[in-house]
Symmetry: D2
C-alpha cells in the first residue's frame, strides 16, 4: 500500500479551484509557479495526501494522489489521445485481461497504453510500436510517472513492415492510416483475438470496416461515445452548455481463423 | 497463455449471425438449443478458437473466447448494470490501479465488479457489499465464469451500518439510495481516494453532489456518456437510427482530509 | 377563428393514454375501432375541443385539434420523412418567409412540405416535384387534411430534367441521389437564396458539400440534430432510455452569383 | 417579390470567410468597419444580392439577403434566446398555424417571437409580454429589421397578474420562473390549445410537468434537442469536435377542458 504522506520522488496532483491541476514530481528545493503563487516542494514533503495546501498568495489547493485519468489527461500530450470515455469499451471488448499480451500500433502519447497496462499488469505485456522517437519518449515518461512502464515495451519502428509478436491476445491500432498496418496486426493476432482501431473520420471507419469484413473478422462494429458534464447546484441542475462533441470513432472486431484475401 | 483449442470446462462464446451470442460452459454430453438448431458440446471440444461452427440446421456460428464485455453483457443480469461505456471513466477517475483495494457498495449483477477486478488483479482486491443474497450469488457466478472471482470478496450485508474495511484506495456505490451508505463509505475511504456513485436520476445527482461538497470532497463532477453505433456499408455509412439514449448519470469525487459535518 | 366544437368534416385528434393517437375525419355514421373499444363519430359532433371522450370499453381519450406536428407524424407516410426536429433549422436557414416562393424536389409524404407551406402562406407558394404518383397523392391528402394544400403545387415529374420555376427564394432537396437534381435546382434558385439538402449518409454529405463548394455556394454547412425525451416524475426525473439516435444529416448553403463549373 | 439588387434601407447580410457575418442596414454615407477593412455602404447600393464584395484590405465577402436564422442569431441579444434547433418542434407541436393567435410570455430578445410571427403571418398575431422595457425595445428592433413587427404586439407588463387575451390558439412561456405565470397563461389558452415552456434546468422541468399534469393537461412531454455540425472535406468527413451541448429543455402540453385545482 502506498504511503499516506508525500515523499520526495512522488508524483502528486495539485488541484486548484475550478478544476485546474498540475502533476508534480516532488523534488527537494524545487518550486511550482502558478497563477495562485509559488508552491515550494519542501512544503509538500511529509504532508498527508488529501491535505489542503496554501499557496503564497493565499490560494487554496489540495494535495492528491494522481489517478490513472490524471496521468492520462495531465501527462505530456504531443499527439491527439484516446480519451478515458472510450477506453473502457475498447479494453472490455477486445478481450484484454490480467495477464494478456496486447499489441498496440501507434503508441502516441501513451494514453491508451497506460490503461491497457493497468489491465494486463503484472503478468501481461503491452507491445507498442511508434514511428516517431519523440512520441515514444513522451509515452515512456508518462508510463514511468504512472508506475506502469514495466508492463510496456515500446519499439520505435514502423509496424507496417511487420511486427515481432505472434499470437497476441488483443490489439489496438491508432495511426494515421490504419490500412497500412492491419496486415501486420493480423499476422500477430491469435484467432478469436479482439482488435480496436481508432478512426477519427467516417471515411476511415468505412475503409476499416470493409477490410475487416473481407478478412474474415466477425463482430465488426463501429461506434462513438460522448461525454457530457452535468452542472449541479441545489435546485438548478442542468447539462453543461459546452462539451467535446466528437473525439473519434472506434472500430472493433474479432479475428477468426479465416484471413485476408491475398493482395 | 490460454490454450488455442476448446477444452471441457471452458466458457466459450458462440456467435451467431446478426450479433446474437451465447456464453456456454462446455460440458461433454451437453447440447445448446438455438433457433439455428442444436449444437453439441462434444463437437466443440478440441476445436480451435476462432473456428466456424455449423449448426444442425446449417447455420454458421463462430467459436470465440469471451471478452470481458461478453462476460458483462451476457452474464446473469438480475439487476440493472453499469455499462462498459461508463467503466473506463469510473476506473480511471477513482484511481483504481493494479494492486488497489476498492470498496464497492451494491454488487448487483457484478458487472462493474468484474471490470474493477480486472484492473486491481492480482494483488489488489474488490470488497463488495450486496444486501440481496440472490444478487450476490449471480455476481459470484459471473465472476467465476470470467476467472475473476479470486480478486473479489462479496459480503451479503447492508453497508449502511458500516463496512469492515478502512483505508481503501477507491470506492464505487450503486444502490437505490446512495445517501444511506455514503457515511459508511467515507469512513472506509482513505484521504485522496476516489469515489464514483451511480445516479440514474438528476434528483439523485443533485443530492449526492450536495452531500459530497458539504463533506469536503473535491473534484466533484457529474456526467453522462452515450454510445452510438455507426452502420457502415461501402458508400453508405451513417449513425445507427436506434441507440440506448440514457443509462445513468455518474458522480465522481475525491476525498480530502476534511469530513462530513456531524449529522 | 376555428370553432370551439367539432363539426362534421373536421379532422380531429383522438388521444388515448400513453400517447397513442389517431387523426380522424369526422363523418356522420362512421366509427373508429381501437384497442379501447369503438368510438362513434356521431358522439364527437358538437362536442367541445379539449373534451374527454369515453370509449365503449371505458377507456378515456381526449378530443383535440391536430397540431402541425400531428398532421406530419400521423399522416400517411409511404416514405421516410424529415422530422419536425430538423424543420425549424431548415426553414430559418434557407430564408423561407411569409410570401416566399420555395422549390422542393422530392415531395415524399409531404412532411416538410407542410411546414414550408405554413411559413410561406398565404401569399407564397411551395412548388414541389415528386416522381412517384402514389407519393404525390399521399402528400396531397396530407396537405389537404392540414388545410395547407392551397399553398402547394405538386408536379409529378423528375426534376433532374429541369424545373419550370426561376428565381425562387429558397429550395429543399430530399431525393435518393441529390446530385442528379442539384443542377436543375441551381437554375431555379435566385442568387443569395438558401438551399437545404437531406443527406442520410455521410457519403452523401461529402459529395453534396463538394458540389456546393465548387459551384460557388457559401455558408455550406452540414449538421445533424438529435431529440431526446426527458421522463419526469416528482423526485425522479431522467432522460428517456430510448430515442431515435439518427434520422438524417442536412446540408445547407446559400447560392451566390457564381455557378457550377460546366460539366 | 423582393428586389434582386440592394437598395438604401435594406438590411443585408455581409458574410466574411469562416462564417463571420454582419447584419447591416444600408445607409448612404455610412461605413462598416471590420477586421478585413472598411466597407462603404455606397458601394453596396445597386449591387445584386449574391455578389462578392471586396473590402479595402482585399478581403472577400458576400452580399446576401438575411435569412430568418440570420435575423435571430445576429440580432440584438440582451438575453438568452431559444435557438432555431428548438423552434420547429415548438411551433409544430403547439399548433401554431397561419392565422393563429399565439400568446408569448417572456419576449426576451424576440428570437422565438420572430419564428412564431413568420408562421402566423399575415392574418394571425403574436401577443407577447415582457417585463423589462429594454428587452422589449431590442425585440421590437429585431422584429422590425426582419419585417415581422406588424404581426406582433409587445406589452411591457408582468403577465403573472393576468393577460388581456382569451381563447388564444397556442402559447409559449420563457421566463425565469414559469410557475408564476402558468395560471394566467391557462386562462388565456383555449381548450385543446398547445403550450411550450422553456425550462433550462431539470428542476424546472419537474415542477412544470407536475403543474401541467395536475391541471388537466395532456401530452405533457419534456425534451431536449442537440445540434452538431459535420465537418466535411473530400475523404475526411467527421463530426465537429465542438458544439453547444445544452441550451434548454422544453416542456410541451395540450390544454383540456379541465383546469388547475384552486390554489
Amino acid at each position: 500500500m502506498s504511503s499516506d504522506v508525500v515523499s520526495e520522488g512522488d508524483t502528486v496532483l495539485l488541484l486548484a479551484p475550478k478544476g485546474v491541476a498540475w502533476l508534480v514530481r516532488v523534488s527537494r528545493g524545487s518550486e511550482l509557479h502558478t497563477h495562485l503563487g509559488i508552491i515550494r516542494h519542501d512544503d509538500l514533503i511529509g504532508r498527508p495526501y488529501g491535505s489542503p495546501v496554501e499557496s503564497q498568495l493565499g490560494g487554496r489547493l489540495h494535495l492528491l494522489r494522481p489517478s490513472l485519468e490524471d496521468f492520462i489527461m495531465l501527462g505530456e500530450r504531443p499527439t491527439q489521445i484516446v480519451y478515458p470515455k472510450d477506453m473502457g469499451l475498447i479494453v472490455a471488448r477486445i478481450g484484454a485481461m490480467p495477464g494478456s499480451r496486447v499489441l498496440e500500433v501507434g503508441t502516441g502519447s501513451g494514453a491508451l497504453t497506460m490503461f491497457l497496462a493497468a489491465v494486463v499488469a503484472p503478468e501481461g505485456r503491452v507491445h507498442s510500436y511508434e514511428v516517431r522517437p519523440e512520441f515514444a519518449d513522451a509515452a515512456r515518461r508518462n508510463l514511468e510517472r504512472a508506475g506502469l512502464s514495466k508492463y510496456v515495451e515500446i519499439k520505435v519502428r514502423d509496424a507496417s513492415a511487420g511486427v515481432d509478436e505472434r499470437g497476441v491476445d488483443a490489439a489496438v491500432v491508432d495511426v494515421g492510416d490504419a490500412l497500412r498496418v492491419l496486415g501486420a496486426v493480423h499476422e500477430a493476432l491469435r484467432p478469436s483475438g479482439g482488435l480496436a482501431v481508432i478512426a477519427p473520420t467516417f471515411n476511415q471507419v468505412e475503409r476499416i470496416v470493409s477490410w475487416l469484413r473481407s478478412s474474415g473478422y466477425v463482430r465488426v462494429e463501429a461506434f462513438e461515445t460522448t461525454y457530457r458534464r452535468i452542472e449541479s447546484k441545489p435546485g438548478a441542475t442542468r447539462p453543461s452548455s459546452s462539451t467535446v462533441a466528437h473525439t473519434t470513432f472506434v472500430v472493433t472486431a474479432r479475428r477468426t481463423l479465416g484471413g485476408p484475401a491475398p493482395a
